[in-house]
């Protein structure tokens, strides 16, 4: 009997995964631990190894489709049973319905067999289909809960009774805390991202002979979706400050060799992250997300740092950046960028960011108006560091000097941040960097 291969959970907070690429086709023999497919989460590709040796019989979920953790994605026959080449079924068939659920508890009941609760079919693709147990349904009704806001920790991401009770407790606690704002706490931003734009609804493109249609990679699609959502929902405003990085440049020259001895590469980015973390502490409203139910203020400072890749861009997150010193930040950034470039980030590495920095200056750009990393409230763009002639005033004496200068731009969500607040934040960054 073929065994179901299910969508694995590739990170602590990951509830779904996208089939990126099938590395084996129906009929292929697969060794144990041999990569079977690539799963994409938030642009991170992870190879999923075969749990046992055998023959891939059928692909249930085609490439590009996103399903919840625990959903059957393929059928495999174990090696000893798979002498006969499996009847290959077209892999392209979109999400073939799982074969007549092998739910019948077992033809040969034994002491342990009937004990398996597996007779409940795993939820199929899409969160709308996930199994809601009777007690969860009743609690949702009694407490008027929107179950899409609750993260499931049960089998295959199922929402268990405990998840609901914990949610109710947490919500009560948060409502009590956030009493003045009088909005129900727990904005829906914690919910998984909206289902992807179904490409199938568009009419087929008529391709003129002098052009070609490139396939959209999972990462490209994620970027496209994310950018569109941000632009569509967030009224962007950009403000610009010019910062004198003389102190930072000197500090880095002094400190980099010392860090080098500890195997840590000191980049300017570490200084920017440090300054932003301090500024976020000073102006906490920037470290927030706007939702219709209320402004979600993030208590932790997790700063995403955009890393350009050959075929796209990814934003690994420096967690609790405000709790790290310069060495710790440099080490964390070095580790994340290295793993981003070698595609070894885990899904957890790219989640939970509360603010983002994009260092477009490394490519020579002096000035940009970046798009906010939804659902965050602002993004800082850092331009190229250029020596410029500036007028300095010391003790009332003006003088002309050559200084390493940099334009920094802040795109912010004007729904929750006013211009004055954004500028206050920018001036704090400037103060931090110029005080080095």
């Amino acid at each position: 009997m073929p065994t179901e291969i299910t969508m694995p959970q590739l990170g602590e907070s990951v509830t779904e995964g996208t089939v990126g690429r099938w590395l084996k086709q129906p009929g292929d023999r697969v060794e144990r631990y041999e990569p079977l497919l690539e799963v994409t989460n938030d642009k991170v590709d992870t190879e999923v190894p075969a749990p046992f040796a055998g023959v891939l019989q059928q692909i249930l979920i085609p490439e590009g489709e996103t399903v919840r953790v625990g959903t059957p994605i393929a059928l495999m026959e174990a090696a000893e049973q798979a002498d006969v080449p499996a009847p290959a079924q077209a892999a392209s068939a979109p999400a073939a319905v799982p074969p007549s659920a092998p739910a019948s508890a077992s033809a040969r009941p034994s002491a342990s067999a009937p004990a398996r609760p597996a007779s409940v079919p795993a939820p199929s693709n899409g969160q709308s289909n996930r199994f809601i147990s009777p007690v969860v349904a009743r609690l949702a009704e009694e407490h008027q809960l929107d179950l899409s806001l609750i993260k499931g920790t049960g089998l295959g991401g199922r929402i268990s009774k405990r998840d609901v009770l914990n949610y109710i407790l947490r919500r009560a606690a948060e409502t009590a805390e956030a009493a003045p704002s009088a909005v129900p706490a727990q904005p829906p931003v914690a919910a998984p991202a909206a289902p992807s734009v179904p490409p199938a609804t568009e009419p087929p493109i008529e391709l003129p002979p002098d052009s070609e249609l490139l396939p959209i990679s999972a990462m490209r699609r994620a970027i496209a979706e994310h950018m569109t959502r941000s632009r569509r929902t967030i009224p962007h405003v950009t403000t610009v400050a010019e910062v004198d990085l003389g102190g930072v440049v000197a500090h880095r020259e002094r400190t980099a060799p010392e860090f080098e001895r500890q195997n840590v590469r000191l980049t300017y980015t570490a200084y920017f992250v440090q300054a932003v973390a301090a500024a976020l502490r000073a102006v906490p409203i920037i470290n927030a997300s706007y939702t219709d139910q209320g402004i979600q203020l993030h208590h932790r400072v997790n700063i995403g740092v955009a890393v350009a890749l050959d075929d796209g861009l990814i934003v690994p997150v420096v967690r609790d950046a405000d709790e790290k010193n310069l060495l710790g930040l440099a080490r964390a950034i070095g580790d994340l960028t290295e793993r981003a470039r070698t595609k070894r980030l885990s899904p957890d590495d790219v989640q939970g960011g509360t603010f983002t920095i994009t260092n477009h200056g490394v490519n020579g750009s002096i000035f940009a108006m970046p798009i906010i990393n939804h659902p965050q409230a602002a993004i800082l763009g850092v331009g190229a560091i250029q020596k410029r002639v500036v007028v300095l005033t010391n003790n009332g004496q003006d003088s002309i000097a050559i200084r390493p200068m940099c334009y920094m731009s802040l795109s912010f969500d004007h729904r929750l941040i006013d211009g004055a607040t954004a500028d206050l934040f920018m001036m704090e960054i400037k103060r931090q960097l110029e005080a080095m």
């Binding site: 040969r108 034994s110 342990s112 609760p117 007779s119 147990s133 089998l155």
Partner: protein, 327 residues
């Protein structure tokens, strides 16, 4: 409180009841001079004499039949079926006669009969000395079925069974006889028929069991406690009538249920309990109701390995509990 085995508590219960009620007598194979094959009636022949502790022929039908007749004539018989495997010849007397007598006589006549029957496996008894027979009898209205798992419960339920004006099938798990020890108070007490007991409080899931399986479930629950899974263990004690209220109350609390019995899974008591829960606590369930029971094998094998494989044990129960907790 003196500690004693389950077997000793039964012997003591019989003794104490016979001492105060002259109408009580025991009828069964080898119950007299030999004191029973398990020594449950040891010493009673010497104490109460051959008229009250009577050796019978190897004929279960006549043991029960004679007891029914005697019970209609102002006596309180206690029949012993040497092994519950051999209760089949008495099935007709128990089901057709004893269980219906009160109903048939419109309440005029009662059959205050207790049928003691050692049951269950795990003792290398093989096909003819290992069976669980409770499901056959739990099907019958008019009959009470009791299956204690601890010495305290055994003595208290035995006395309540003897007091009862209608027939009671009193099941004693053979594996529990000498293995299970516990405190039994010296003073007289009863445990009412039809009352289950929570033997272990827990929040995460409910396990329902009785007899030897109760002890396996308690051991498995201890194991899971180390893994942070909090298991509630409910001892049915009486299989008919079921303590529906306590079962439902526990399920409403934990929302997950595992039912464990050694008796055959299919058509076993677990199915009845699952149906009760499904009907009356549906909106409290957070997982499929799970059952563990005997496999689809016609009898308990003799081979040690196969006997072990046949019986649910602490590991299989713990594994099912884990699965349920994870669900």
């Amino acid at each position: 409180m003196p500690e004693m085995t389950l077997l000793e508590s039964i012997r003591q219960g019989l003794d104490e009841m016979m001492a105060v009620d002259q109408r009580i007598f025991i009828l069964g194979e080898d119950v007299g001079k030999r004191g029973g094959v398990f020594r449950a009636t040891e010493g009673l022949y010497d104490k109460y004499g051959p008229n009250r502790v009577i050796d019978s022929p190897l004929a279960e039908s006549s043991i029960v039949g004679a007891c029914i007749g005697a019970s209609l004539n102002d006596t309180r018989p206690i029949a012993e079926i040497q092994f519950s495997d051999f209760i089949a010849p008495a099935f007709n007397q128990i089901v057709q006669e004893a269980a219906r007598f009160c109903y048939r006589s419109n309440g005029e006549w009662n059959v205050p009969l207790v049928i003691r029957a050692p049951y269950g496996g795990g003792i290398h008894g093989a096909l003819y000395h290992s069976q669980s027979i409770e499901a056959f009898f739990c099907h019958v209205p008019g009959l009470k079925v009791v299956a204690p798992a601890t010495p305290y419960d055994a003595k208290g339920l035995l006395k309540a069974s003897i007091d009862d004006p209608n027939p009671v099938l009193f099941l004693e798990h053979k594996k529990c006889y000498r293995l299970i020890k516990g405190d039994v108070p010296a003073e007289d007490y009863r445990i009412p028929i039809g009352q289950a007991e929570i033997k272990r409080q827990g929040e995460d899931l409910t396990v329902i069991a009785y007899g030897m399986m109760l002890h396996h479930c308690l051991a498995a629950a201890e194991q899971l406690a180390n893994e942070g899974i909090d298991v509630e263990v409910l001892d049915l004690r009486t299989l008919r009538p079921l303590d529906t209220e306590m079962i439902l109350e526990s399920v409403r609390k934990t929302s997950k249920v595992l039912i464990v019995h050694e008796d055959n899974l299919i058509g076993g008591l677990g199915g009845e309990i699952a149906a009760l829960i499904g009907q009356h606590a549906f909106e409290h369930l957070d997982a499929p109701i799970m059952r563990i029971g005997g496999p689809e094998v016609p009898g308990m094998p003799y081979s040690d390995t196969l006997e072990h494989a046949f019986l649910p044990n602490v590991e299989t129960i713990a594994a099912a509990m884990r699965e349920l907790a994870e669900y």
